[in-house]
Amino acid sequence: MSRSFAIRILPVFCSALIGTAIQAQNEGQLHGNFSTDVQLYNQDSAIGAVLPPERLGANAWANLIYTQGNFEAGGRMESYEPSLAGYPAGQAYSGTGVGYRYIKFKVSDLEVTAGNFYEQFGQGLIFRSYEERYLGVDNVMDGFRLKYKPYRGVYLKTVLGRQRFGFNNGAVKGVGLVRGVDAEVSLAELLDSAWTSANNLIIGGSFVSKFQEDRNPFLVLPQNVAAGAVRANFTSARWNIYGEYAYKVNDPNGRNESVYKNGQALHVNATYSVKGLGASLGAHSIDNMFYQSDRSAPTPFDLNINFLPPLTKQHTYNLPATLYPYATQPNGEVSAQGEVFYRWKKGSKLGGKRGTKIAVNFSTAYALDTVHLGLADDTTRRLGYSSKFFTPGKRQYFQDFNIELRKKVSDNWQFALTYLNLLYDIDIIQGKSGKPPVHADMFIVEGLHNFTDRNSVRFEVQHLSTKDDHGNWATALAEFTFSPHWFVAAMDQYNYVTFDDTFLQDGKLEVSPKRFHYPIGSVGYIRSGTRFQMNYGRQRAGIFCVGGVCRTVPASNGLSLSVTTTF
């Protein structure tokens, strides 16, 4: 597009948009959002900060949705000029263009979507197309989807298309084709009986198949790989019991050493809750469940057809959230989690005048018990291993015990105390080969004080102690808020080692430990649906996990700006 052409076309583009908006007030609605993250990188070799040649990285997204009656159309412009360091998780994004667009309409009980769409079957064990924009994960489908409700309580869905792989002045699609159907029956809606007025049973089943041509000169690869899943969910006023089982036929790929073994996964969960008490218990077993629409996808983040969520708590405090988070191991794991929330009422012995809340959580993950198959013959060798489903192996990948107490002590003061004990197999989870598992303890104190109705200060002191990996961390944070518009915050993270003056790593004595401060300051302004935030300082490397995989954001030093708005 030449410059003069662009200048000529822009007023047309603008007036078309505004025209649509004016028309929208009469008939339809036009709305959207915008968000951008910009960072200016400084040199800081002490912490190994990244310094991209462009010095300035910027990600930006603008969504627009137009609806009129039963018709809807939408799109998203995306820009990565260039993308922020460490973004996205998988295949690189570059340039500016359209990343997503669709049209959708409803004809009584039938809904048709053409173009891009996000969808999920059950808990996603065999199919989930979703976006986690800030993690850089987007496996949106491009094709079509039908949703049909033939009778009350009966829901049918079918999808067909290719997934988003990367971005180069527009979305780049993967080579594999994904096709799927899902059916669900909700008995409470279907039958109008005394039983279903208090309880409900939902049963569902789905089938997904991917197609990718076999061009391998040495192996005969399955070109169509099918997966099926069944699920049931019982609910009553107090109970919610869920189970889903998935099976995948053999799918030799780059993530499973090209074995011809079938895959399977089982997820079960039960929760019980009444006012003031909630409890949940869940477990899952996963065996050979990497399911990507390109068997030679370059990274584990690309082209995932399914979603295998970890059964661990997603922490909100900075140190536990971004130093040692867990990610599901799709090739094999057995995991369980239990959790209790309880509130001591106002006026009770432990509740005091304003009540006290406690949360206790425990989770653990082990390798799956497997036996490597020998070289008896080629067929056996190609199966790779045999496994005992739902039987944990010897190696423990992860364990997290944490307890949190929250109490409002007066009208103007409230506190939260947290303790965490963690075991983390850094070799498996972060791929740091040969590094010993990390054993860590964390203590966190958080306080909130209201000076007035609208002005307050919140502070956090966090400490992590470990003799492994990078040693100890201490974090202090203070955040002043002036509702409804402003906030100012300052944080320092201090990485230090106390044991001896040498640092034990990989079982060897290494050089004297280095001690680093990571100070950072932030200021923010919020006005209705718009938020501006600016940070300046050092940002340590952090891990962000989604589904089965963790993305590492490199250490950096500099100025960053985020703007989000909804209109």
């Binding site: 662009a6 822009l10 583009f13 603008c14 908006a21 609605q29 036009l30 959207g32 915008f34 968000s35 930006a60 603008a62 969504n63 949705i65 609806t67 820009s79 000029e81 409803k106 996000y118 969808e119 999920q120 808990q123 996603g124 989930r128 976006e131 800030y134 909700s186 609910t235 919610n240 869920y242 969960n269 929760t271 809750s273 006012k275 008490l277 949940s280 979603f307 969520p309 997603q314 909100t316 405090y317 959790e339 209790v340 929330f341 509130r343 209201n450 007035t452 002005n455 307050s456 919140r458 808020t481 509702s483 409804p484 923010g524 919020i526 209705s528 649906g529 989000t564 909804t566 209109f567």
Partner: protein
């Protein structure tokens, strides 16, 4: 060129910036904590205001906001008849934690689950917490992103203005 184009497009967007005000809730399927499907278009409160609050169990400011409102929610309801619908965007990882968490806190909100972000996308929410206020006709009249202690007072002032109190 690209920058000019992006800037001008953004300006166009800016001109339209208030267009979500007055809009109705989109028609999106979400579910209750009991697994029943709900079309968001059918949400109503007998001509009284509705607060739609997007949150997640992994979002600390969201939980602070809902816990703070919970302390005076019965007064809010008595005075104005307002209803708060807490839309959780927890995905398959933490969706099962929502009901025990909400009950463990003793909250009385209506809770809806949006595990694949369909409603979040349809309402153009970038991040949580994000709050919308709907008048008795179901039109969006106010929205607020983020939470700071005290924001709930601003919100309640808007609710009271809507119900003529």
């Amino acid at each position: 060129m690209k920058i000019t184009l992006s800037l001008l497009s953004f300006l166009c967007f800016g001109l339209l910036a208030s267009s979500q005000n007055g809009a109705h809730l989109p028609s999106v399927m979400v579910q209750t904590m009991e697994g029943r499907k709900v079309d968001t278009k059918t949400i109503s409160n007998d001509g009284k205001p509705i607060i739609i609050n997007f949150w997640a169990t992994w979002c600390a400011p969201c939980k602070r906001e809902l816990a703070t409102i919970a302390e005076s929610y019965d007064t809010w309801q008595e005075e104005t008849g307002v209803k708060l619908i807490a839309v959780s965007i927890d995905d398959a990882r933490s969706m099962a934690r929502v009901a025990p968490y909400v009950n463990g806190q003793g909250w009385d909100y209506e809770v809806l689950l949006d595990p694949n972000g369909d409603l979040k996308r349809a309402m153009n929410v970038n991040n949580v917490p994000h709050t919308f206020l709907l008048n008795g006709k179901g039109e969006i009249v106010y929205q607020h992103n983020n939470y700071e202690p005290g924001d709930e007072k601003e919100l309640y002032a808007k609710v009271k203005a809507l119900s003529g109190k």
